[in-house]
Symmetry: C2
Subunit: 107 residues, 2 copies
């Protein structure tokens, strides 16, 4: 696990956005682009806004390497999606990092 | 994977903090508390600040269920760590959410 690379996005969507549609597009994207090893998302509906800073959704994409992430990032389908994504978000934070696995699930 | 629960923390540490020490404490915590299924962290050293909003570190803890997360959150060792953690961060975002797995790693 030590060499995995993660692409993490926290988002607050604009009010009139159909979030399900965006997530479907993301799901499609993850399946279309082979280098995406895994993709998990979630919605925090409970934590205090003081903690979430207004962010509601987290998306975590995992790749086998930074090179695979770069392949994803420059893929035309991702570039196209990103342009759309930028129009539906009120704010976002993105972090890309080599994942240091401290505790791995028991086999 | 559908029922996993994730605890995600993005952090910007204060300037004079020895980040390695904090991460070691977190590592210890993850090992001490059985319900922590997996723990991964990473440091983004490259992305543009416009994207990272100044956050440098991401921590992702995974639990089998929300109940397990609650057990972790209320564990005395976590409560104690959180008090310390609050003193070393400049800012943080926390999201807690049931993880929807769209694409899982091939077996």
């Amino acid at each position: 696990m030590a060499d995995e690379f993660k692409h993490l996005v926290l988002v607050k969507f604009k009010e009139d956005v159909v979030v399900e549609d965006i997530l479907k597009q993301l799901e499609k994207l993850a399946h279309e682009i082979d280098v995406v090893k895994s993709f998990v998302w979630g919605k925090d509906g409970e934590s205090h806004e003081m903690l979430t800073q207004g962010f509601t959704h987290a998306m975590i994409m995992t790749f086998n390497s930074k090179e695979d992430y770069n392949t994803f990032a420059s893929h035309p389908n991702h570039v196209e999606f990103s342009a759309t994504f930028a129009t539906v978000i009120e704010k976002a934070v993105l972090l890309d990092f080599p994942a240091i696995s401290v505790k791995a699930p028991a086999k």
